[in-house]
């Protein structure tokens, strides 16, 4: 259990340290170290869970089970690799005169603040604290979206703040209704603890829980980026600094989905009807299709990939909605591989935009000829995210497709159509960017592409063979969520 406290304490210390120390030449490297220590702590925690199974802290405030433990390690890992990327990237942005020391101090302090909020969402056992941490993540990142202080970034940040703030207020109403249902059967003090709620899910009033779930899905769904609540997402991703886009896409969206699934488990326990599942399938499918079409209309490279994030979150929400063992397993795998691939893509996109000096796709050309590592990284990343074998995204999308054919065959054509349209939408933009003629005077930038290589390597590995302990966690989480074990 000490490991869990350590995971929360390190980013907390980080917030205070960066806020007090201010920005110096080596702050980026210190940020990397903070994240590295945190990753080691999460691995320690994971080893504990591997040996002992589910851990519930003695005051019942924290719960680490197979469902969240791999997400915690994933969060720490992406936090670390993005920190490695952000150190030279932010230094370059400062050289260009876009940022000042004070804003970088805010950036590094809130980077740790965001990480703290993410760990708290995942580790807490209290549904109310989960809400507070989710709102905390918005508050920590909203000033980072407007870090450049351009009119566009201020607009994006305002939109993000208002939409996510109002959206997440709905989730609080849902949480209040959940608590209201819970106090009718148990003592008030422990009634918001997930472990208590899960044990007594059968006794909770199904009608109240169904209403509560609608509010939760709208609330946390705003953060997942479900259509039609997605408007903030492309703006925030395209106007904020690129490391922020990487962690927003890779971590925040996942954690919001995690919150929805935790609530779905309670509703499924209480109610016989599959309301929660159908709602998630509907919203998931809608987001997936709308985002796939919108990919074709994009002009800004970061907006392009943020729509791709909406598309993939749609697939995951849809798969969790189907609910059977194989669909749930696929959704868990997809959460992992999407996070790894998407953050790798944002790293290369950030460098590509620095090489070309713009984010407009019409002007980014000839990446392979200018800087082969960035060009190939972008191409391979796009191939991976579009769902080509042998990458992990293919495996998980294939499993989702199989599960759909099994449970709802009439939805398969829609799913295939969407995947095809999304693939075309990505490649019509990326192909000229990587293969096109190199514009005059375009020079390579200093870039650290190790994060990309490691991420894509892991995605490839997960596509070929899932390591035993991870498969074991996925299976345990699947039986926890769907009630039946995968084959």
């Amino acid at each position: 259990m000490i490991a869990a406290y350590l995971v929360l304490f390190i980013p907390f210390a980080g917030i205070i340290f960066f806020a007090l120390a201010g920005h110096k030449a080596d702050t980026g490297k210190i940020n990397v170290r903070f994240n590295l220590i945190c990753l080691l702590a999460t691995i320690w925690l994971a080893v504990n869970v591997l040996n002992q199974g589910t851990i519930l802290s003695s005051d019942k405030a924290f719960l680490i089970d197979p469902f969240n433990v791999y997400l915690i390690v994933l969060t720490a890992f992406i936090g670390l690799t993005t920190a490695i990327f952000s150190s030279p990237y932010m230094a370059h942005e400062k050289e260009l005169g876009k940022l000042t020391d004070n804003r970088l101090r805010l950036y590094y302090s809130m980077y740790q603040g965001f990480m703290l909020a993410m760990y708290l969402v995942l580790t807490t056992n209290n549904m109310g604290v989960m809400w507070v941490a989710m709102e905390g993540a918005t508050l920590a990142t909203v000033m980072l979206v407007s870090l450049y202080r351009t009119p566009e970034s201020v607009e994006a940040a305002w939109k993000y703040f208002i939409l996510c703030g109002v959206g997440i207020a709905q989730a609080l109403f849902g949480t209040i209704l959940l608590y209201y249902a819970a106090v009718q059967i148990g003592d008030a003090e422990n009634s918001l603890l997930w472990s208590v709620l899960y044990e007594n899910a059968g006794k909770l009033n199904p009608e109240i829980l169904e209403i509560a779930f609608v509010f939760m899905l709208i609330g946390y769904g705003t953060k997942i980026g479900l259509v039609p609540l997605h408007n903030w997402l492309p703006d925030a991703h395209s106007e904020g600094p690129t490391p922020m886009s990487a962690v927003l896409s890779g971590l925040l969206l996942n954690d919001a989905l995690y919150a929805v699934v935790r609530n779905k488990m309670l509703v499924d326990g209480a109610s016989e009807s599959n309301v929660a599942g159908f709602l998630m399938m509907g919203f998931g499918m809608l987001s997936f299709l709308v985002a796939a079409f919108f990919l074709h209309r994009q002009k800004d490279i970061k907006r392009l990939f943020s729509y791709s994030s909406i598309e993939h979150m749609g697939i995951m929400t849809f798969a969790f909605g189907i609910g059977g063992a194989s669909a749930t397993f696929a959704a868990l795998l997809h959460m992992t591989v999407h996070s790894l691939t998407k953050s790798a893509i944002f790293v290369t996109v950030g460098h590509a935009a620095q090489v070309a000096g713009t984010q407009s796709m019409e002007k980014i050309r000839g990446m392979i000829r200018t800087q082969p590592s960035i060009g190939w990284g972008l191409l391979i990343g796009t191939i991976a995210i579009a769902g080509f074998p042998p990458f992990g995204v293919f495996t998980s999308e294939f499993l989702v497709l199989l599960a759909t054919m099994h449970s709802y065959p009439w939805l398969t054509p829609l799913l295939l159509l969407g995947i095809g349209i999304a693939f075309a939408g990505l490649f019509r933009h990326i192909q000229p960017i990587v293969y096109g003629e190199r514009p005059e005077g375009q020079l390579p930038v200093k870039a650290n592409l190790w994060p990309v290589i490691i991420h894509l390597g892991l995605v490839l590995w997960l596509g070929l063979a899932i390591p035993g302990f991870l498969a074991n966690w996925f299976s345990q989480a699947t039986s926890l969520i769907s009630g039946s074990a995968p084959l």
């Binding site: 604290v129 109403f173 008030a188 109240i208």
Partner: protein, 225 residues
């Protein structure tokens, strides 16, 4: 069951729910920013009274802490901050022309009916007073959203945002006698940070578009121009 047969606490809660709902409607039709902020502070004060009353009658001392937090944040700090902003930017003499005032008020009434409709399934699990309290708080939440849609000033948006919080808080006090302490402190902390961030944002918006009219924030969209 008629209202005279219920105990004092239930009657008080029902009156408070009615008054809080009324303040939401008052805010909805308000074109002057200073008066809008005043009504918002009034709503916060009613909420404080409700919390203190619940704390006294249900003998639940931790609700006193919530009452004090509400008083400090919603009645004193946030209205003070917004008022200062209005006077600094010299907007206190402007009257915002609201489009379709009648339509907005009518849709507000529809939202209230809709809240009752949504929450009706819970009526047979509990006393009718709960349905009223929860439906009023849901409609305060929805009216807060309508306020944000129908007004163009960033300050009105913040008032709408905070009044949504008020509605949620009212639901938590009445339906569940307050959330667990750790959650309530967390929520209060989030509201405080949000209020401070809004203050910083006013500065940024003013320096980028030279006004607080959020209709001018329209650079980012999917429509070709």
């Amino acid at each position: 069951m008629s209202i005279e047969q219920t105990d004092f606490y239930t009657q008080a809660i029902l009156s408070m729910a009615a008054l809080i709902g009324l303040t939401s409607f008052l805010m909805l039709g308000q074109g002057r920013l200073l008066r809008l902020i005043f009504v918002f502070a009034l709503q916060g004060f009613l909420l404080t009274l409700t919390t203190a009353l619940a704390a006294y009658i249900l003998k639940n001392p931790h609700l006193y802490i919530s009452a004090v937090l509400t008083l400090m944040l919603k009645v004193i700090f946030i209205p003070w901050m917004l008022k200062r902003e209005v006077i600094q930017t010299n907007m206190h003499r402007d009257i915002e022309a609201l489009h379709n005032k009648t339509m907005v008020m009518l849709s507000g009434a529809c939202l209230m009916v809709f809240s009752y409709y949504v929450l009706h399934p819970i009526v047979h699990t509990t006393a009718p007073v709960m349905l009223n309290a929860l439906a009023v708080s849901l409609s305060v939440v929805l009216l807060g959203m309508l306020l944000m849609i129908s007004h163009r000033q960033a300050i009105a948006h913040v008032v709408g945002f905070m009044s949504i919080e008020n509605g949620l808080f009212f639901a938590a006090i009445i339906a569940t006698k307050g959330m667990p302490m750790v959650v309530e402190l967390g929520i209060a902390f989030d509201v405080l940070v949000a209020a401070v961030l809004f203050g910083i944002f006013f500065l940024h918006i003013r320096s980028s578009i030279d006004s607080l009219d959020v209709d001018l924030l329209n650079k980012l969209n999917e429509v070709d121009k």
